[in-house]
């Protein structure tokens, strides 16, 4: 786990890259990798690579980056973990490859040599990396299927600058800070900035699950190496396997396998523990006493939002070394400036991950597993039931004369939410229904100047992009909602926030339930069983999860923001719109 950067002056007319810029970018990422740092610049000064390292696999200097292969032809900077690196190494060795370190980074170099761009198909893990191929004078850039590890670039037509964070690119001093109305509109619509946009006009995300080359002609077309929609579509046609093995057993096997891979580390691995099924299920399936951390807010002590009691009881039963860390209002207020400084792009989330990561790092841990992604995987959000209902209802209403008006009138009587009109306006499509259900603001009420909002929405193309995410058709309502939740909410918010909020504390968070290989195995079962899968997951450890965990009402993770951040009323119960405005101010 690291922060990485690459500069490539690919156009003949471009000035050579500047070492000071590369080092400034790298320095901004220091918390992501406090253990080591390094830079590499090509002899002709056209290419520079930099890395900050948080040493987790192969703690020796052999694993430091940028890493050059033995021939000196390939140089890499890599952020992430390749969980199947040992088996890939063994396979490469059988093919004649020789290694000089035990790091997963070297495996990437050898794999690139053996398979070229196809190498990404063989990686199980979270990753973002750049490989400079001296012989072919091109750079290979790739990012993991779900987008767990971030990667951004700014391409001015002559030089491309790449880094793990948006703020690092800005720190180099050569990238414009002009705010992108599309990024702002996207943030107010969804509470986060949807890929590939960022809040800055000149910076774009390397899209999750894609890879591309950069050569003298600039950035080549990005090729998708993983599609969540396609996995669900394929899963639909593989029902025959579902009947071979009982559902709880499949979940036990496949999640345990994912967990085994996610526990591969040369340093101890802890776990975030809440009172929910996802994190308790992982701790139970780990079959080893772990160091667990629960975070609670003193404002909620003893209330239904306080998960610490249940987590403590469960941890004791699992023989875990457990810590409950209480966060006070004072601490929250004290941390807020650092919190906003670390926030890489505007988001209405991240407070919880900030504090639980801080608490985990205080325990001396560098790595923790988290149950995030369980709701998206097992379909336990309300959207899994409401979205299909909205799409079905509004598609039908559109076919009946006066149907839309009738639906609008009915909604006006029953729903007082400012978002209610969105159901009739957008609800006939999956992307539209998603926005109506999950959006923060609706397109007609964005808190930004009208012309900027119009321009931003036009470039954002939210609905069109949502439909693209559903190509090919996942073939089932469950698959469609799961795809949207994974590619809109989880990718743009949950995973991104987890990355910057944990890395600010030099903590690597691993997500066994967000695993491209796991999804491929479970897709047939998930499309078959739908949201029932979560209960099967609760059954999968031996013994099954206790009733006090599985029967606990779902609460989500709540932060006492309203009081602590003194949020103004905004017409919503959570006052998240007020929080969003506060967040946006810090970027302007």
């Amino acid at each position: 786990m690291c922060g990485i950067a690459a500069l490539f002056a690919y156009d003949d007319d471009a000035s050579p890259i500047r070492r000071e810029e590369l080092e400034a970018i790298n320095e901004r990422m220091r918390p992501r990798g406090p253990d080591a740092g390094g830079t590499w610049i090509s002899d002709d000064g056209r290419v520079g690579l930099a890395s900050r390292r948080l040493a987790i696999i192969d703690l020796s200097p052999e694993g430091d980056q940028p890493l050059t292969d033995t021939s000196g032809e390939l140089v890499i900077v890599f952020n992430g973990e390749i969980y199947n690196h040992r088996e890939l190494r063994a396979r490469l060795e059988r093919g004649g490859a020789r290694f000089h370190s035990s790091s997963d980074t070297e495996v990437l170099l050898q794999l690139y040599r053996a398979h070229g761009a196809d190498m990404v198909e063989l990686l199980r893990g979270m990753f973002a990396f750049c490989i400079w191929d001296k012989t072919r004078k091109r750079m290979f850039v790739a990012r993991d299927p779900y987008g767990i590890k971030p990667l951004y670039f700014a391409d001015d037509g002559q030089t491309i600058r790449i880094a793990s964070t948006v703020k690092a690119l800005l720190a180099g001093g050569a990238v414009s800070r002009t705010i992108d109305p599309a990024g702002v509109a996207g943030f107010f619509l969804t509470g986060t900035v949807p890929e590939p946009f960022t809040i800055f006009e000149s910076i774009r995300a390397v899209e999750a699950g894609t890879a591309f080359f950069i050569d003298a002609d600039g950035r080549g077309k990005a090729r998708a190496h993983y599609s969540i929609a396609k996995v669900f579509q394929r899963g639909c046609s593989q029902h025959a396997f579902v009947t071979l093995v009982p559902p709880a057993m499949q979940l036990c096997e496949f999640v345990s396998e994912s967990l085994r891979y996610h526990l591969v580390s040369d340093v101890p691995v802890g776990a975030f523990l809440s009172a929910g099924i996802d994190s308790t299920g992982l701790v139970a399936l780990a079959k080893q006493p772990m160091r667990t951390v629960t975070m609670s807010f003193d404002a909620f002590a003893g209330g239904t939002s306080d998960e610490s009691r249940i987590a403590e009881r469960f941890a004791a039963e699992m023989h875990c070394v457990h810590t409950t860390r209480v966060v006070t209002r004072d601490e929250f207020t004290r941390d807020l400036p650092r919190f906003f400084d670390a926030m890489d792009q505007p988001t209405i989330d991240g407070v919880n991950t900030w504090f639980v990561s801080k608490a985990t790092a205080e325990q001396g841990l560098k790595v923790a597993i988290s149950g995030i992604g369980g709701d998206e995987l097992f379909g336990s959000y309300p959207s899994f039931t409401t979205l299909p209902r909205i799409v079905r209802g509004m598609s039908l209403a559109r076919k009946v004369p006066g149907g839309v008006q009738a639906a609008r009138a009915a909604l006006a009587m029953t729903k007082r939410s400012p978002k209610a009109p969105a159901v009739t306006r957008y609800g006939a499509t999956w992307g539209g229904a998603y926005l109506a259900q999950r959006g923060l603001y609706m397109p007609w009420e964005l808190p930004m100047p009208a012309d900027a909002a119009e321009e931003g929405l036009k470039r954002l193309e939210f609905f069109e992009r949502a439909e693209e995410l559903l190509e090919p058709d996942p073939s089932s309502a469950f698959g469609r909602v799961a795809t949207l939740e994974a590619t809109l909410y989880m990718r743009n918010q949950l995973l991104r926030d987890t990355d910057w909020a944990s890395m600010a504390h030099s903590l690597e968070v691993r997500t066994p339930l967000v695993d491209a290989w796991l999804l491929r195995q479970l897709a047939p079962l998930l499309t078959n069983e739908g949201s029932a899968s979560k209960q099967y997951f609760a059954d999968s450890p031996k013994p099954a999860l206790p009733d006090y965990v599985r029967n606990r009402p779902k609460t989500g993770f709540v932060v006492p923001l309203i009081d602590w951040a003194q949020l103004e009323p905004d017409g919503t119960g959570t006052r998240m719109r007020s929080w969003a405005k506060r967040v946006m101010e810090t970027f302007q």
Binding site: R234, F241, P246
Partner: protein, 350 residues
């Protein structure tokens, strides 16, 4: 030592389980303390052959249900030191003879709850994956053993392609991928579909030979035709056992991205002919390839993973019997069976 083995099929039987049972019986009979092994089959499809000395084969039990019940009833009057039950469906019969029969489990037969009421005294599983799946539903807490298939290495060898088979299947100048197995609609877990789909992206000189018969063959033929691969997917239909080694020797790569194999004996056969093998990481194939030591493991749900493994092995070329294949040799199998017998006898003595 007097031993009883209840089986589905064994002598005169086809397929992997019959072969496994024959090896198992031979290994028991070879134990110096074994005075007699009584083998009771459920079916005897062909003339029984190769019955070792010390084995009393009760072939008449396979005649019909009544004959089977009679045979079981008669055996209740005999005293056995160890009783092996060769299929989970036979457990109720085994329990009438012994309170603690040792159950043999193979694959999908034991992956889902079945005959839960009848507890065995010990369990011998062909693979870890089958044992794990059995334990997860059975709540069995007794002694367990892993006994993988045996390969008779002398029966196989690297050999040039048989010109007659090359001509029969039109393989001249082609690189051949091979899968051997039943093509059954109810068991679409061998990975035929996955390999056919990958073939589209492989060079034109690569063909896919599917060796075996079954009722799903017409669907696979249609699928190949729909993908424009009618001339690159070749079906042998049922073939005589005697042709098997020659069939394996036609192949450049053996590929089976399956999901439902208890072990994947065919992978051993292919490797015994020096054919590099690709198996599944999600079923018994993983163990047949010893976790990837003997061949490449792939995710059957990933076309790219399968394609890259095929590419890699085709590019590597050449044939070699992996040195580690010896792990599954019949002498090693026999010593595993003998140590199982010792442990079971020790336990009985306690």
């Amino acid at each position: 030592m007097k031993v009883l083995l209840l089986t589905t099929d064994i002598y005169g039987g086809y397929g992997g389980i019959a072969l496994y049972n024959r090896d198992f019986a031979a290994a028991i009979a070879s134990h110096p303390d074994c005075e007699e092994l009584v083998v009771v089959p459920r079916i005897v499809p062909n003339e029984p052959e190769g019955i070792p000395p010390k084995v009393r084969f009760v072939a008449e039990a396979a005649r019909n249900n009544l004959a089977y019940f009679r045979a079981i009833h008669a055996l209740r009057r005999e005293k056995f030191d160890v009783v092996f039950c060769g299929h989970i469906n036979l457990l109720p019969f085994a329990r009438t003879i012994s309170n603690r029969p040792a159950l043999l489990i193979y694959g999908i037969d034991a992956w889902k709850p079945r005959n839960r009421r009848y507890k065995p005294g010990a369990v011998i599983s062909i693979s870890d994956i089958t044992l794990g799946r059995y334990l997860s539903w059975s709540s069995f807490g007794g002694k367990t053993f892993i006994l993988p298939n045996a390969i008779h290495l002398d029966d196989y060898a690297i050999a040039p392609r048989d010109p007659e088979l090359v001509a029969r299947y039109g393989l001249e100048g082609k690189r051949v991928l091979l899968t051997v197995g039943r093509i059954v609609a109810a068991e679409r877990y061998k990975g035929f579909d996955e390999v056919i789909e990958v073939l589209v992206d492989l060079p034109k000189d690569v063909v896919y030979l599917i060796a075996g018969g079954g009722n799903d063959l017409p669907r696979l033929k249609n699928k190949a035709a729909a993908l424009g691969l009618a001339d690159r997917v070749i079906f042998t239909g049922l073939f005589p056992d005697s042709e098997k080694p020659a069939l394996y020797n036609l192949a450049d790569v053996y590929v089976m991205p399956s999901r439902g194999e208890g072990f994947g004996f065919v992978l051993l056969e292919a490797m015994a002919c020096g054919v590099p093998a690709i198996g599944s990481r999600h079923d018994g194939g993983r163990e047949a390839l010893r976790g990837g030591e003997l061949g490449i493991l792939v995710d059957p749900a990933s076309s790219a993973d399968i394609r890259l493994a095929i590419d890699e092995l085709l590019a590597r070329g050449g044939k070699q019997i992996p040195p580690g294949l010896d792990y599954f040799s019949f002498p090693n199998f026999t010593s595993r069976v003998h140590s199982i017998l010792h442990e079971l006898m020790d336990e009985l003595r306690r």
